[in-house]
Amino acid sequence: MIPRLRTQWLALLVVMLVVGLAWISATRVSATDINPTGRPPQPVAGHPAPDFQLVSLDGETRSLAEFRGRTVILNFWATWCGPCRVEIPALEATWQGYGGEVVIIGVNIREDAATVSRYVDELGVSYPVLLDTDGTVGRLYNVQAFPTTYIISPDGVVIEPYTGMLSEPLLRTRLADLGASPVEGVE
C-alpha cells in the first residue's frame, strides 16, 4: 500500500530511519576486520603485502619482511619499459629525500643481472634493486603491466597499488598521509 498523506510518509520515513540505523549498526565492520593485518596477504589495498625473498644486484638475499617498520615503495619494472624509465628519477628523488624513512625497492622482472646492472648504472639508481628472474614475485603481486607499484605501510599493509607511471606529487602526498616527511635540505 502506497502512503498518500504527509503523516503517512513521515511515519514511513521514521520507520526507515530507525530500521536503517539498526541495520547499519548490526552490519558494521567488526574491530578485528578493521585491523587490516587480520586479513590474508594479498596484493590488494588493506591486505598485508605478501612476503618474498629475492637476490639483489649485489648478490644479497633480501626479503620484504626485513623492511618492516619503514614505508616501502615496491616498484616492478623492466629495462625495456619506457614509463618505468621516466618515473625512475622520481623514485630516486624520493629515496634520497626521505633519509631512510622510506624504502624504495625496485623489482626487475625476467631480465639478467648484467642488463639490469648496466641500466641501473646509466640512470644512477642507488635504491635496492632485486632480480625476479623467473617472474615468481611478479605473479605473486599480479603484475600485468609495467610499471606496477605498491605503496606499503610500515606495518606491512598495502596502501595502494598503482598500474602505470607514478609522479612525484603522488608519491609525496601518499607518503605524507603515512606520516613520512622529507629530510630538510635534501629536496
Binding site: L12, L17, W23, I24, R28, Q42, S167
Partner: protein, 252 residues
C-alpha cells in the same frame, strides 16, 4: 578479472574504458528520457558531459590545492605544472570533483533554462546505466569485492570464494533501470523518477554494502556508503512527504 585489454602492443585499462562507455550510454539514456519530457536531447547530453568534464578537472584541481606544498616543492616550475596536468590515477579528490561538477551542471541548467526536475529525472535514469557499467568496471578490476562465502555462486577472487557483489549490484541496477524505463509514462510527474531511484539505490547500498569486504569505514566500523544510502532514502521519503497532502481531498 580483466584489468587490462591487450590489443597487439597496446594495453588499455578496461575499468576506465567501461566507465567511459557507461558515461556515454548513461547520457544517451538521459537524453532519451529528456526528449520524451520535452527537453532538448542534445542539451541534456551536453550538460551532463560538461558537468562530468568539469567534475574531472575539479577533482584534479581539488587534489592539487589540498596538496599544494607537495606540488610547490617540485622544481623547476615547468615540471610542477606538468605534474598537475598529467593524467595519473590516484591524484583526484572526489568531493571537490562532485562540488565542481554540480556547480557546473547548475550553471548550464540555468543558462539553458532547463526544468530542473525533468533534468534530474533524466540523469537519475542515466545514473543507473553508469552504476551498472561501474559494477562491470569493478568486476574487471577486482575492486568492490564481497566477503567470503560458501554459497555455490561465489566467485574465486583474492584467495577466497566470495560473494559476487559487483554482479548483485549490477543486476539490481539493471532491474531498477528496466522498471523505471517501462513505467516512465506512469512516472511522468517531474521529480517522481528521481525520488524512486534515490530510494532504490539507497536500499541497494544499505543491503549490499553489508556483504562488501572492502567498505570504506569510519567512526569505529560504520560503513560510509550505508550511511549515504540511508541519507538518500530518507531524503526521497521527506520529498514525498513534502509533496503529499495533509488531509484526504474528500475530507476537505
Amino acid at each position: 578479472m580483466l584489468p587490462l585489454l591487450r590489443i597487439g602492443p597496446l594495453s588499455v585499462r578496461t575499468p576506465e574504458l567501461l566507465l567511459l562507455a557507461g558515461l556515454w550510454l548513461g547520457l544517451e539514456a538521459a537524453s532519451r528520457l529528456g526528449r520524451e519530457r520535452g527537453l532538448d536531447p542534445d542539451r541534456v547530453f551536453a550538460l551532463g558531459f560538461n558537468a562530468a568534464l568539469a567534475g574531472l578537472l575539479g577533482s584534479r584541481l581539488g587534489f592539487v590545492l589540498l596538496h599544494l606544498p607537495a606540488y610547490s616543492a617540485i622544481t623547476p616550475l615547468t615540471r610542477a605544472l606538468l605534474s598537475i596536468v598529467t593524467p595519473l590515477p590516484g591524484t583526484e579528490n572526489a568531493a571537490a570533483g562532485l562540488v565542481v561538477g554540480l556547480v557546473a551542471g547548475a550553471y548550464f541548467a540555468r543558462r539553458w533554462h532547463m526544468p530542473v526536475l525533468d533534468l534530474l529525472d533524466s540523469y537519475a535514469l542515466g545514473g543507473l546505466v553508469l552504476l551498472a557499467f561501474g559494477m562491470l568496471a569493478n568486476l574487471a578490476s577486482g575492486d568492490y569485492y564481497g566477503v567470503a562465502t560458501v554459497l555455490p555462486w561465489g566467485i574465486p577472487l583474492w584467495g577466497a570464494s566470495r560473494h559476487p557483489l559487483q554482479a548483485y549490484v549490477l543486476l539490481a541496477a539493471v532491474g531498477l533501470l528496466a522498471l523505471a524505463w517501462r513505467r516512465r509514462v506512469v512516472l511522468a510527474e517531474p521529480g517522481l523518477t528521481t525520488r524512486l531511484i534515490l530510494i532504490g539505490v539507497g536500499l541497494m547500498l544499505l543491503v549490499f554494502e553489508s556483504l562488501r569486504a572492502d567498505s570504506p569505514v569510519f567512526a569505529g566500523g560504520l560503513r560510509f556508503w550505508q550511511i549515504a544510502g540511508l541519507a538518500g532514502t530518507v531524503l526521497a521519503l521527506a520529498w514525498f512527504a513534502w509533496r503529499a497532502p495533509l488531509t484526504e481531498p474528500d475530507a476537505r
